[in-house]
């Protein structure tokens, strides 16, 4: 199989060997899996998008990974979360935990819905995917701290975070919180659902952690000018 791939075209080779994706030539572009991106007609696109289409027509594309599909039920944020829960490559178990979590959230919310008086029924959100996204949004920190050395001492300097980094931190805090700080006899899906429901209404330990980080950043505001990028 490797012999058939040796016909990759190489107009330029990087001087530094990339660690991730070392099998693909950097000339290859990322695949676009969603169906909506291909249904838009030519006239609707802006010049940049037309340029992008033109470029894609002439460049080879990487293969789509085995975790993504064009189905409506495929959520990239959810897939990332499942990958972060996964241990030792056991994706089956991680996916199982996630589905059980979502089911548990749904059950709890439906219970609350049936118990609520008539006026309050519309406010209760029963869609577990919506609750999951809401919880993650609430957990995302706005600024982070970086350890910068100046004059022999290390200062914690507040820095802006990229979108990816914020999402990663929110998910990481959620999972570590559930693994470490809960009662050991409860199942992971129970712990996760409790924490996600709490985070969606801005309560719970993860939200507290985010606020503490923001307070630290506010306290170290004086060192903000140590950042040079």
């Amino acid at each position: 199989m490797a012999a058939s791939i040796s016909g990759l075209l190489k107009p330029w080779t990087p001087r530094v060997c990339l660690v991730r994706w070392a099998r693909y030539n950097p000339y290859y572009l990322e695949p676009e899996v969603r169906k909506e991106a291909y249904s838009r007609p030519e006239a609707e696109l802006s010049p940049e998008e037309q340029e992008q289409r033109e470029l894609k027509a002439h460049r080879p594309i990487k293969a789509a990974t085995s975790g993504v599909t064009s189905s409506l039920f495929d959520d990239p944020v959810l897939s990332k979360f499942v990958n972060m829960i996964m241990k030792d490559g056991n994706k089956v178990l991680a996916k199982e935990i996630m589905t059980q979590t979502l089911e548990h959230i749904k059950r709890k919310q439906v219970e609350k819905y049936h118990k609520a008086p008539e006026g309050k029924k519309e406010e209760i959100e029963c869609n577990p995917y919506f609750i999951f996204h809401q919880a993650l949004e609430n957990c995302k920190p706005v600024v982070g701290l970086a350890s910068i050395q100046k004059g022999g001492k290390f200062y914690q300097v507040p820095i802006p975070l990229t979108d990816n980094r914020r999402r990663f931190l929110a998910m990481k805090w959620m999972i570590t919180e559930c693994r470490d700080n809960k009662h050991r006899r409860t199942h992971m899906y129970e712990k996760l659902s409790q924490e996600l429901l709490a985070a969606s209404i801005k309560e719970g330990n993860v939200i507290k952690k985010k606020h503490e980080l923001h307070k630290m950043a506010e306290a170290n505001r004086a060192y903000a000018h140590y950042r040079w990028w």
Partner: protein, 373 residues
């Protein structure tokens, strides 16, 4: 007549065959002469010997003679074959005489420049003494174009007509000429630094907003790229006894091999190694991967799949099947849909395989514990 034709053609072919051997003979002879003459020789003589031992230079008259002989040989060949000697092209020669190793003399002898100086031994080109006259003329020309664009921009700015949104040159369908191609164009050797400098200058030309006025000049140094979708191999669409259209395709991923037959029945049943797909792939992710190409095209319930797969693990078998299904689907699709599938990453075989363990390391990447001393 036939004998004389054969003799002429034979002599021409023989000459072409012998010229390559003669070059090597001449150079080895000359190098032997140089080596034997190294002891007790004055500096002037040594300089002359080194000049003589240089690469074989073909004079213009020699090449013209070769071209004439080639044309005569071609006409004789056309007469022998019974073809029209006027319109006998190179492709016809390749078809009739496939073993003919030499083509037109322009391809056989390397392109070299005519003598660069006149009767009075003064060079024609003003940049001759730089050593790289074509390269420096090109750079000079490019910079001239940049100045022209700047002047144009200044004129527009003076009139107040300077706008930012002008149609830029479309560069996504082409790439810069490679160093070798540029050398061929200039008939001169250039170094890597020279080439990079040239590309830098062209990029700075393209960074100006009104570079479209020099579009023709820029496109002269760009090579057109072929559209990737034309490189796909489509499987054959066959029909069986009942008139149902079907196609067969293969797919590979890691160490798994798979073969899939898509039948246009309309039932949507999938059989893998004789078993039902629900039984073969209990994990949802693998079944999603099987359905991915069909769902992307919106043809979920239309096809009947008969698959065989071997080797690898559960995920790689699913990946191999997905590739085979996408390939099999190509014969039922139009060109635009095929391009969409390619851009979704369904038609690229995944090159990722298990990385080998290296000596001196624990695993492929994990190193042994680092000890300071």
């Amino acid at each position: 007549m036939a004998a004389s034709c054969a003799r002429t053609v034979g002599s021409f072919l023989g000459k072409c065959g012998s010229c390559s051997s003669s070059i090597s003979a001449v150079t080895s002879q000359l190098s032997r002469q140089v080596l034997s003459r190294q002891i007790c020789v004055s500096s002037a003589l040594r300089r002359k010997n080194l000049a003589a031992a240089g690469p074989e230079k073909y004079t213009m008259e020699y090449i013209k003679k070769q071209v004439e002989e080639f044309d005569i040989g071609k006409r004789h060949l056309a007469n022998m074959m019974g073809e029209d000697p006027e319109n006998f092209t190179q492709e016809d020669i390749d078809v009739r005489v496939p073993c003919c190793l030499c083509g037109h003399p322009d391809q056989v002898f390397p392109k070299q420049r005519a003598i660069q100086w006149g009767e009075d031994r003064r060079p024609f080109h003003f940049l001759f003494y730089t050593g790289k006259q074509s390269y420096y003329t090109l750079m000079h020309e490019t910079f001239g174009k940049i100045l022209v664009i700047e002047k144009y921009q200044d004129r527009l700015r003076a009139k107040g007509l300077l706008t930012k949104d002008i149609k830029q040159i479309s560069l996504s369908a082409s790439r810069w000429l490679k160093k070798e191609e540029l050398e061929e164009l200039l008939v001169e050797n250039i170094s890597i630094q020279d080439y990079n400098r040239f590309i830098q200058l062209m990029e700075s030309l393209l960074s100006m907003p009104y570079c479209t006025i020099e579009e023709e000049f820029v496109l002269r140094y760009r090579q057109n790229l072929e559209a990737q979708s034309r490189k796909q191999a489509m499987p054959v669409l066959e029909r069986d006894e009942r008139g149902v259209a079907f196609s067969t395709a293969d797919g590979r991923r890691k160490t798994s091999d798979s073969t899939v037959t898509l039948r246009d029945c309309g039932s949507g049943r999938i059989t893998i190694n004789g078993r039902d797909y629900l039984q073969y792939f209990p994990v949802l992710q693998d079944r999603e991967q099987l359905m991915f190409p069909l769902q992307f095209m919106g043809m979920l319930g239309r096809f009947d799949l008969e698959c065989t797969v071997s080797g690898g693990g559960r995920s790689s078998q699913a990946g191999a099947l997905r590739l085979a299904i996408s390939r099999g689907l190509l014969s039922f699709l139009s060109d635009g849909e095929m391009e969409n599938m390619r851009q979704a990453g369904l038609l690229t075989p995944d090159p990722r395989v298990r990385e080998r363990k290296k000596p001196g390391q624990k695993k492929a990447r994990k190193k042994f514990t680092w000890k300071k001393r």
